[in-house]
Symmetry: C2
Subunit: 341 residues, 2 copies
């Protein structure tokens, strides 16, 4: 801490997102002098790959965060609730990937391309938004700045990796079982995911919306800093390993043509416009996997209303949807002098 030292901990280092956080710290040459891998007692003593070598996973305890400057949490809401307060007490800034504090008015919810200035008012914890929300707001913000978005209707096509390693294994196992004429094991999801679509992500809540749908609605308003944007969502799990896709329909106050939208998005940070129908070029989860940007294509005017646009938005849900966004927040903390090396 200080004096040229920068200690970073990854809490939940053995999960799908935790592993990607380590890869991202390495890949972006994050200036950490020490990186600690933390997980539950079950994983303590195992190793995770980092920077050409391996890190030995330590058990996360109340004392794990002493001397740590930044902790990237991706260990589920209850673990965050339990350990983040100790991390904060040790003077560590927590960037939390769970939904535990996202809607807490005392906690900034940050997507660096959209609301970087919000890191400045943190009180020890900064929340990393839901994966589906992150990729959507990265594409919507530049359009909102030009035309003011009034309404958003989104339907998602979400990959199993959003649920974690177990779900990746479940899709793979189910496919193998089906191709060997066996009854597929259904454990992680309420129904078989192989060769199926599940119109349920997370549990059901008010008005029969799922929590995932409610997250997309509320988090979008908080990140964009504009409660006047009306958002509604239908979230669906599809048999894809990596990469969330979103069919997004927006209504703006000021007309934005498809051509203008392409030009605006081509200049936008974190966005790559991938939109050439004549050449069959459009974003797909298969091409977004392992990539940093949010890809936008199928940009079309929706003529059923005066100022309507369709967008097809795809990103790697584990990267930009989780690990990359968290590391970008950590970079912001350094850039904005919130954490000093």
């Amino acid at each position: 801490m200080g004096g040229g030292e920068l200690v970073v901990a990854v809490a939940g280092a053995t999960g799908a997102v935790g592993r990607e956080m380590l890869k991202t710290l390495e890949g972006r040459a994050f200036p950490a002098t020490t990186v600690k891998a933390l997980a539950s007692s079950r994983s303590a003593g195992t190793t995770v790959p980092f920077a050409g070598g391996e890190l030995i996973v330590e058990e996360m305890t109340e004392k794990s965060f002493e001397g740590v400057d930044i902790a990237l949490f991706s260990a589920g809401g209850s673990t965050s609730k339990q350990f983040a307060p100790f991390a904060v007490k040790s003077g560590c800034v927590v960037i939390d990937n769970s939904s535990a504090w996202r809607m807490d008015p005392e906690v900034p919810l940050v997507v660096p391309e959209v609301n970087p200035e919000d890191v400045d008012w943190h009180k020890g914890i900064i929340a990393n938004p839901n994966c589906s929300t992150i990729q959507m707001v990265v594409a919507l913000k530049p359009l909102h700045d030009v035309g003011k978005i009034k309404r958003v209707i989104v339907s998602t096509y979400q990959a199993v990796s959003g649920t974690g390693q177990k779900a990746i294994a479940e899709l793979e196992t189910q496919v193998r079982q089906l191709f060997n004429s066996q009854e597929p094991d259904v454990k992680v999801y309420p129904h078989q995911i192989a060769f199926n679509c599940l119109p349920q992500i997370d549990v059901f809540s008010d008005g029969d919306y799922t929590f995932e749908e409610i997250k997309m609605i509320k988090e979008t308003n908080k990140i964009m800093g504009d409660d006047s944007i009306k958002v509604t969502a239908t979230t669906v799990r599809v048999p894809v390993f990596y990469g969330h896709s979103e069919s997004v329909n927006i209504e703006t106050e000021k007309k934005i043509t498809a051509k203008e939208a392409r030009a605006i998005l081509s200049q936008a940070p974190g966005v790559v416009v991938y939109d050439n129908p004549a050449e069959k070029i459009y974003p797909m989860p298969l091409m977004a996997g392992g990539e940093d940007p949010v890809f936008v294509g199928r940009i079309r005017e929706d003529n059923t209303i005066e100022n309507g646009l369709h967008l097809w938005i795809v990103a790697d849900n584990i990267r930009k949807g989780a690990a990359l966004n968290a590391v970008q927040i950590a970079e912001l903390l350094l850039e904005r002098g919130q954490v000093r090396v």
Copy 2:
């Protein structure tokens, strides 16, 4: 023809839809005295299963329709264009599953639950709508009758069987290849479909909409007999074998609550409401495969507008989306005295 005889021909009998048409004629005990299986010269002499036995496939020629009362065509647009006029000249009524005549003002486009009366003005050809359109209008019509639909925004999740036998084989082959660390063969679709989503169905046209999207827009207006309904669509292929899913957002003139929508749809012909979130009950392609009804669930009010509703609509695209609807039209012809036994 007449005198107690009823001769039915299935043109394109060896395809995915043709085979299902034969199964449906049998399953619904359609009162045909003779069923002929027709296909291209390539398939002539092969057999297709029917009524516990087999039919020998005959080559389709200009003379194949002599003495035939009703011909169910599912052999692609160019074959329909080539042979249907000869069938009509022979006094046969053609029910055509291709897109060749769907938007022809001289040709009725019929979904029996929605516009049965339109069969009465046929001039020899009746068009069977696009699979994605059929299941949507079956669910929308009863709501339109009560609340008048002003706007429809649909995003689809379409199965490979909609493309035919070759696409079913391609998904299966690609999965096997990937699970054996081989490069997947990409032939039927422009990109790999296994573990991917393709936001392109059919070719691109005006305003960068695909033909599939344009079909959903125009056919909905024609079938519902109401051009004032504004429809927009994004159509996407997903790695599912059977069953199309649709995330549909509608705006009505008169308020319909979610509860009212459930009550209306529970009484609607051809619809099964499958909507109990507490028990994780909602429609999925896996459960719709091999079933006749259009399943509707995830019925929710969309509070971003005054009178908004979300629906999740799933049906077997080969059955209600094609073969069953065609056979139901044939049944209507008998019921309404258009064809006499």
